[in-house]
């Protein structure tokens, strides 16, 4: 369970999170929508401790992320995150990309890590690209590799930060299909996205962020069907 309690965060003068309260249950798929600068991506990087927070608390399975004694390296093993940029490690093959962290961080044997990597890469449809370097792959393939790389750590939660935003339109589908598959398998996921159709399909709940505030949160049929917040109405009208 991820518990977010009254989280505030500023970059200099700009307050990007103005007291966010949110709880994500195990097995839940939550999508976060909203305009750019609404704070949604920042929240994800705060959850895995890549960013500090100014006040409030984020608790993952009982561990306070930003408490002094928290071992963030250990905590991050259970919080997989995939970014807008694919961040493929260009000097490693696809297989090596996925094997690296399980071997170096989890201390798995090469054989063990390879078996897991092959399994995850096959899962995302890259079973025939094991020996290929990322530079030879499309953006969609690189992004699916990044997903497999995160999954190879056997995380309890997956955070997706606008993972299709840097992709050519024709490549968006293959990545969203991968996310749908994970959702159907019961993975706990928080997806920041601009893909409204996707959000409507896969989410248990959808949250709308506006200027650092969570303006509305509801099941998709309710949030898209009968939006209450005026800003949300404007946002949805603009995205249709």
């Amino acid at each position: 369970m991820i518990e977010i309690e009254n989280v505030r965060k500023s970059f200099g003068q700009l307050e990007v999170l103005k007291g966010i309260n949110l709880t994500v249950q195990k097995g839940e798929v939550l999508t976060i929508i909203g305009g750019s600068g609404s704070g949604k991506s920042t929240l994800l990087t705060c959850i895995n401790g890549l960013e500090d927070i100014d006040s409030g608390r984020i608790v993952v399975d009982g561990t306070d992320v930003h408490a002094k004694g928290t071992d963030l390296n250990k905590l991050r093993r259970k919080l997989g995150i995939v970014f807008q940029q694919f961040n493929a490690f260009p000097h490693l093959t696809v297989l090596e990309n996925v094997m690296l962290a399980p071997v170096k961080v989890l201390g798995q044997s090469k054989a063990e890590a390879e078996a897991m990597a092959v399994k995850q890469l096959t899962h995302v449809g890259l079973g025939d690209k094991l020996k290929v370097y990322p530079s030879r792959m499309s953006g969609g393939q690189q992004q699916r590799m990044a997903i497999a790389r995160a999954l190879a750590m056997s995380p309890a939660y997956m955070l997706f930060d606008e993972v299709t935003s840097a992709l050519d339109p024709q490549l968006v589908g293959e990545v969203l299909d991968t996310l749908r598959m994970l959702a159907s398998e019961g993975m706990t996921m928080i997806c920041v996205t601009h893909e409204m159709k996707f959000a409507r399909e896969v989410s248990d709940r959808v949250a709308f962020f506006h200027k650092g505030v969570m303006a509305e949160i509801a099941p998709p049929e309710e949030l898209f069907g009968a939006p209450k917040d005026p800003e949300l109405k404007t946002f949805l009208a603009a995205t249709h």
Binding site: R76, Q85, F89
Partner: protein, 221 residues
Amino acid sequence: MFSYNFHWNQAFKALPQMLDGALVTLQIALLSMAIGLVVALALTLFRLSGNRILNGFATVWVEIARNTPALFQIYMAHFGLGSFGIHLSPYTALLVGIAFNNAGYLAENFRGALKAIPETQTRAGRSLGMTPLQAFRYIVMPQMLRIAFLPATNQMVWAILMTSLGVTVGMNTDLAGVTQALNAVSFRTFEFFALAAVIYYVIAKAVTLAARLAATRMFRY
């Protein structure tokens, strides 16, 4: 004005001796590069550490190495340290001086290379649970070494040529030292130094070529 009679025979007879000297030259250059590389990596980590003292130390090293004559650096290693009771042999002093110079230049190479690697690479590594050092070691460093590899071969050539400065601290077993000794007893300055120059040239070219070949084999991405 141009009445000089060339005596190439004397020089060619001494060729085996000079080639032995060339081996010593190559050995010092290689060793100084190996030491320089390790120190440069350490200096790079110091600069990335965010610690002001470590960063200052690295910056001072790089500044001195790159902005003072290599000759002075070797002099300091031999005569300078000698003033404090630390007596290095000509061989060791030459090695230390060149390694000092190499480390400074290589650290600066690395710094340039690091700028070409997006910050998001480190972020991706940290997100997978790596420590900062692990992210550097397994993700950033391999990419940095690739980018810095060809510029570093320039430093290797420079290191080979710098070994000739060893004659000023009494080095007499490397190519320049052997050549100087032969010159002293024969006064065939032009012939001996011309031949030595050709040998330096061939070594330098061979190293550059070998590095290019190695690069195509090592970096397949």
